[in-house]
Symmetry: C2
Subunit: 414 residues, 2 copies
């Protein structure tokens, strides 16, 4: 029989828009021995995690917990729990992940309308608000930070309009939460999904979500207690109109995350340890300080990229602080440069999707990966890789430009 | 702001029917730094994991990979990918998790028929085969090892009949795989779902699955490439008849797990490290040796329980080797005994569901938790806890009886 060697992953500097490097303290947390899912010590950990998710999403919502799956499991849990077949759902699309919202909403039986913005731009909020007023959809679903294009959509005006018109607003904040402001309550977002493997720097495999009483009311209308757990005398079963997933049924998950502790799945213990530790580190750093750190390293990266002679993709007014999209110079094989960065320098950056494939590189500065060492390492490596690909760059300029940005804060060697 | 202390879970001897203790080598694997999901080193790890899942399920199936969620996400992925609305699905039920199969199949729009066996028994396979011949369902879904009652259903005759009649057979082997024979090919099972947090002793959070070409053919008929990834010129979108989940869509997941590597979710890196290491340890031990180990510790546990004067629940002819159900003596508060075991001795055992709640305790001997130290610790602790609850037991007999079982294999101190 074939034998398999010990796991021994090479060290990597991961500067994609996710997954990114995991804080060693989070990795360490996963190596603790597990607890049973109904062990009081474990349910305390679940409750602490709920508290910290509330801080992360800047909300007082009662419901704030994690779905046991990757980010898109959280998106699907929210959409499949909220959307009744025939519900009218409006999805403003400005990149690949807007299409994903449509994809999932379609499978929930939604009656969907879309509006599309050119990739590299976002919507003028008034344009979306106008469409909401015209159509009066049941639900609006929108991406906060679109990693495929590196753009971030302002949400405040859209949230206000949805609340006035009694429309539910669902927001995919997978790429932004923990890296920039996601003000669930202030912006009047009804349900928000976060990601672990981006600005939280926790491995993929859990999806923190939060939703308010407006969303809960709709979910509870569709609730059925699981067959085999419900009392056949008093509780009714499936009528064909309920939530089409069991695994991603928020009405059941919230019972599992409440003192009722109604058995559902077996909580993913080690991933929850990781999420709790990742959240603890966010709180330790402080949200505002964390957002400022993302801005600082973005500034250094952007200064370096520009000094090298490269140009940035997309409208700068709506750039995500944690994703920088770089136009691949004409005639350069972007995949060859990426491969050289990975195999020679141990650095991973990303390409993009659809029409942008081969046109842009996407560089992430997220969470633990968002640090000076990584930014300077990448700028030096990218310069060297471009020189090897015979691209004329301003040799030596990138690192100096980045150091100038950092000089504003730190002492220097001059 | 509230501060949260360092994670510091208490040591536990976990003898429930899952989740159970995790091998320290698996815990260590999760602490390695992560790799990007399309890093060639990582896709090598994905491929190795597929190879090992095939060994685990004793199959030559091409498709053998993991779903990023807990066991029930694997069950739902298989059922939601296979069941078209209106498909006739037969579910023989002999415990709680049979009801879960019905619950999930209902939500997929199946036309369901059930047959029920008294809890504590399994079906005579001929009885199921007869029903299949009568009804000619599209799919039969059945649990292999029903942890709620500790029973194991023989599948060979059912598999043969399903193949003859061109019925797809889906098997929930969450609790049995890695602990006893699950002969996917020999028994002609079309799709099988395993669990990580039971006999594999990997934390919950992934679900290994395998399916053959018969199942794949049905899944591919329902396939749609994701909006935002498909070519709008040549590929068609959602028609309302496809797979209702995106996250659990096996037709998309198999593209992600194939050289196509079509982007889907972000693979749960650290959980995959854990699964790979858990599988590596299964192969290192050897399947047959592993099954024998589960039988040996079961024998010791059962001898000890009986010697103490307690009785076992359920038909002994179909007992699962890795779950032992003990009748709670009349007048004893089972939950009080369980709480004492946990809080005084650091041992967790389980209660049960539905009509068996308060009637039986369920003791797991699964994977890493299936060892001599745990069995002897539990027997001593249970005796002490029962004495504190004024239950007349044969004092000192349990440990001696278990030691006698172990004496057959090992040297003794006599």
């Amino acid at each position: 029989m074939k034998t398999y060697r010990d796991l021994s992953p090479s060290p990597r500097t991961i500067m994609t828009p996710g997954p990114v490097e995991v804080d060693p303290r989070v990795l360490r947390a996963m190596s603790f021995s597990i607890l049973g899912q109904f062990d009081p010590e474990f349910t305390d950990i679940m409750n602490e995690t709920m508290d910290m998710i509330r801080v992360l999403f800047q909300t007082n919502n009662h419901w704030a917990f994690s779905v046991d799956g990757t980010s898109r499991s959280g998106i699907e849990a929210v959409l499949t729990s909220l959307i009744e077949p025939g519900d009218r759902v409006l999805v403003p699309i400005y990149g690949r992940f807007g299409h994903l919202l449509v994809e999932i909403a379609e499978r929930c039986g939604a009656d969907i309308s879309t509006m599309e913005q050119e990739w590299g731009q976002v919507f003028d909020p008034e344009q979306v608000v106008k469409r909401i007023r015209q159509e009066r959809p049941d639900i609006v679903a929108i991406v906060h930070g679109e990693t495929s294009t590196g753009r971030m959509q302002p949400l405040k005006e859209i949230g206000k309009a949805c609340r006035e018109l009694d429309v539910l607003l669902v927001v995919d904040a997978v790429a932004t939460v923990g890296g920039t402001k996601v003000a669930t309550d202030e912006w009047m977002l009804d349900a928000v999904i976060g990601g672990t493997q981006k600005c939280l720097s926790v491995p993929a495999g859990m999806a923190p979500v939060t939703y308010n009483e407006r969303a809960e009311a709709k979910i509870l209308k569709r609730k059925r207690i699981e067959r085999g757990l419900r009392d056949p005398q008093t509780e009714t079963g499936w009528s064909g109109k309920g939530i089409q997933s069991n695994y991603l049924d928020l009405s059941q998950l919230q019972d599992y995350w409440s003192p009722v502790r109604l058995n559902h799945h077996t909580e993913a213990t080690s991933m929850l340890y990781a999420l709790r530790e990742g959240l603890r580190l966010v709180l330790e750093e402080g949200l505002e300080q964390r957002f400022a750190r993302h801005l600082e390293h973005e500034a250094a990266l952007v200064a370096g990229i520009r000094a090298m002679g490269l140009t940035l993709f997309g409208d700068p007014d709506c750039k995500m602080p944690m994703v920088t999209c770089v136009n691949i110079p004409d005639g350069v094989d972007g995949e060859s440069v990426r491969a050289m960065l990975l195999h020679e320098f141990g650095i991973e950056i990303a390409s993009s999707f659809g029409a942008l494939k081969g046109k842009i590189w996407r560089i992430g500065t997220m969470g633990y990966s968002c640090n000076k060492k990584n930014v300077l390492h990448l700028l030096g490596a990218l310069e060297a890789a471009l020189l090897r690909h015979r691209v004329p760059v301003h040799i030596g300029a990138a690192s100096q430009a980045a150091l100038d940005v950092y000089r504003r804060k730190a002492n220097t060697y001059e």
